[in-house]
Amino acid sequence: MHPLISGFHADEQRRMLELLGDLQWSAPLLSRRVFLQSAAATGLLLGFGWLTPSSAEAALPGAEGAAAGPLAPNAFVRVGSDNLVTVICKHHEMGQGNTTGLASLVADELDADWALVRTEYAPSDVKLYNNLNFGPLQGTGGSSAIANSFLQYRGAGATARAMLIAAAAETWQVPASEIRTSKNTLTHASGRRATYGEMAVAASKQAPPANPPLKSPAQYTFIGKDRSAPRVDSPSKCNGTAMYTADVKLPGLLTAVIAWPPSFGAKFVSFDATEAKKVQGVTDVVEVPEGVAVVATGTWAAMQGRRALKVQWDESTSKALDSDALLADYRARAAQPGTPFTKPTGASAANATGKTIVAVYEFPFLAHASMEPMNCVAWLHDGILETWSGHQFPSFDHMFAAKAAGLPMEKVKLNTLVSGGSFGRRANSWSDFTVAAVNVAKAIGGRAPVRVQFTREDDTGAGLYRPMFVHAVKAGLDSKGNIAVWEHTIVGQSIMAGGPMAMMIKDGIDPTSVEGVDKSVYNLPMLAGSLHSPVLSVRPLWWRSVGNTHTAYVMETMIDELAAAAGRDPVAFRLALLEKSPRAAGVLKLAAEKAGWGRPLRPGVAQGIAVHESFGSFVAQVAEVSLRKGKVKVERVVCAVDCGVPVNPDVIRAQMEGCIGFALGAMYYGEIEIKDGRAAQRNFDTYRSLRIHEMPRVEVHIVASNEKPSGVGEPGVPPLAPAVANAVAKLGGPRVRRLPLTRAGMVEV
């Protein structure tokens, strides 16, 4: 165990013993887990106070703060008589900063004062809040929030501004063209002056212009202006007042934990709630389609009740699933061609007279492990259903909630809150957390609002993983060291199959299984790609950057290996293949230049590089890596990103930093093994996450661009692991073809 990890374990133990010393509990060094179990075993809960309705109502969840009308020219902005500007955000905030981004788009065209800008989250209404990149669907994913909103939200701000100007012109009897706007204030050379708040009522009587002119880039006040629009959610997230699903307070709110199937696909047989119902605070034990829900006045009581609950499951077929066996099966499939997704148009295998590399790559199941375990509050009242949650895909959650409740969609109201991370987990085509809450609310007859709370173990063990993938590649050079053959077979579950997005599967190819190999930035006309999409009892899901999590690794490590085989510099070798992709070449050159590519480094340290396009953004990273006694340590990462117009540079930097740490944690440790049909890793002790002492120094360089903006929430993930792996190989380490690195004992755990 890493000394820091064992250190904080020891500190915790010592602290606990110190505290418990007063209670004559000081004897042996009990592990916390044992301690909690024994604590649980000793205790009946002696009642559990709950918030009084009055204080609960006072804390009804809201957003970051919202101004009232009167100027509400469209679904995205309101200007209040109190001079506050409210931006209604159609996208889900899970940390990626899009709330700030959307607000800055409106604020820029409106010439708003950032200090007076507030945000709130939109209701579920696909007609108003459609994702223009992939609708009809209200949802956040594919790093599309700013990309699809760029003109829409600017237009919304420009409309409001035009109406304020028109109102001032009318009131002051001056030409509209003579009115200036800045920081929520209208002024005229005559000395007349009014705040937006003062003009809001008059502006609300103006007709919204059809196509208000938008600013030219030279006129931007927030867009691209570093630190001009700090995060709107920083203060509330630094003082504990930010409202997450876990924090929703409602009168009489109950909490449920569910006894989920113990293995993927286990069938419910029966349950005995006798002991569970003896736990003080447990109010109901009810069968739901998901399993058996233990409902209580508080979370701890519900957890204790579930511990006491006895459930019979039929695991006669479900226990067979095993990730080692699966891997062997995938390897066998990868040896056979699958359904083609791209056919060679260039050179043929006959030209591969140079070196040929045959490699099989293996990628594990990965859990998202967002800090906030899944949860949702559902309340059936007055003939309607209300939910509170981090509804990342409101359109799906809305539809599935209505279906589960047996209500028409117009009788279902979603209240979307910020979520404590998602990384794709809350964007699922089955709305598992939402539907579970609705099912429990129904099962208790709508008697009270109820929150279904996943424990960390429930969350990690629930499936919906980044699916396991195996790639088999045979790539060869011609006599001049150019790539002549590239045969690429991919094996892994289709994420889209079986869900509402299945229509995206064309000719048997789920695009999310092959993105990044298919339509690679490189000019590889010889690439022959095929896909096998096995079906399993464990559900797959997108995980931050989706298919690119594995395809970029294979492409970028194989390209690197081919460059080495050709005796060429990895940057030069790539650039020769990027003639048709100037933006990819641009970030590659920028990252290399800023990292000092080729300069001498300390002994035992090397740089590796990778570049990848995902979701329309181009990212290159240089990883500076040390390899000592076979252990990998990433010391520094230089990242170059081209995401079109950089709307909020500091948010872009933050996303690149976060993507790098997230990807590195997965590369080091991330693996869900399936044994006896269930996840073997269920909490942060075994499903390790990157910690502060493992975070490399990160430098981010943003390409100045007037291209249409594209996303940043995901594209920083794909290049990291291959850049690190390429550095390891340069240091004389193995070409790592199986992740995570702990598999080969290459990380100090």
């Binding site: 820091l4 990890i5 915790e12 602290r15 606990m16 505290l19 209670l23 509990w25 916390r32 301690f35 909690l36 000793t42 205790g43 559990f48 106070g49 709950w50 204080s55 804390a59 940390g95 900063g97 700090p230 995060r231 920083s234 203060p235 509330s236 630094c238 003082n239 504990g240 930010a242 997450y244 876990a246 307070k249 909490t255 003080q280 508080g298 979370t299 701890w300 492990a369 967002s370 800090m371 375990p373 910020v418 404590g420 991370g421 998602s422 960390r456 930093e657 993507c659 790098i660 740490g661 942060f684 002790d685 996450s689 990157l690 910690r691 502060i692 002492h693 975070m695 120094r697 990160v698």
Partner: protein, 153 residues
């Protein structure tokens, strides 16, 4: 047997099971929800509070263990070091999803109260028990140094 709690300076009697983890009492009995549940096994630090001014993972501490001891949650932070930490966190826009940040701020504050000028190694030791899945670690480190500079200035 009731347990006397002193949370953010307010004394109250807790009548429930003394083995209930402090986290759930803070969140659901006292109603202070800035302290978060992340793992329940003292692995992630989202539930970090101060007891006697030092950090404790409240998810794994029975409420009885803090009887008659001053407990501080994110809502009750008031020291000079705490204010410097919170200001640095906002100034540098450390947060992303924010869910772990109460715990990060509690750990960072306790560090600076003990060591106003921490080294990077001190920071590693004090903060290694707090996971951030958004990996805001670089900014956490920078914000601790910034808060330290502010305290010195």
């Amino acid at each position: 047997m009731s347990v006397t709690l002193i949370i953010n300076g307010t004394r109250r009697e807790y009548e429930g099971d003394p083995n209930t983890p402090l986290l759930w009492v803070i969140r659901e009995d006292v109603g202070l929800t800035g302290t978060k549940y992340g793992c329940g096994i003292a692995q992630c630090g989202a539930c970090t509070v101060h007891v006697d001014g030092r950090p404790l993972r409240s998810c794994s501490a029975p409420v009885s263990a803090v009887a008659d001891r001053p407990v501080t949650t994110i809502e009750g932070l008031s020291s000079r070091a705490a204010k410097a930490v919170q200001k640095a966190w906002v100034d540098l826009d450390v947060v992303q999803c924010g869910y772990c940040q109460s715990g990060q701020i509690m750990s960072a504050t306790a560090l600076l109260e003990q060591k106003p000028k921490p080294s990077d190694t001190d920071i590693d030791h004090a903060m290694a028990g707090n996971i951030c899945r958004c990996a805001t670690y670089q900014r956490i480190r920078a914000a601790i140094h910034a808060a330290s500079a502010q305290l010195a200035g």
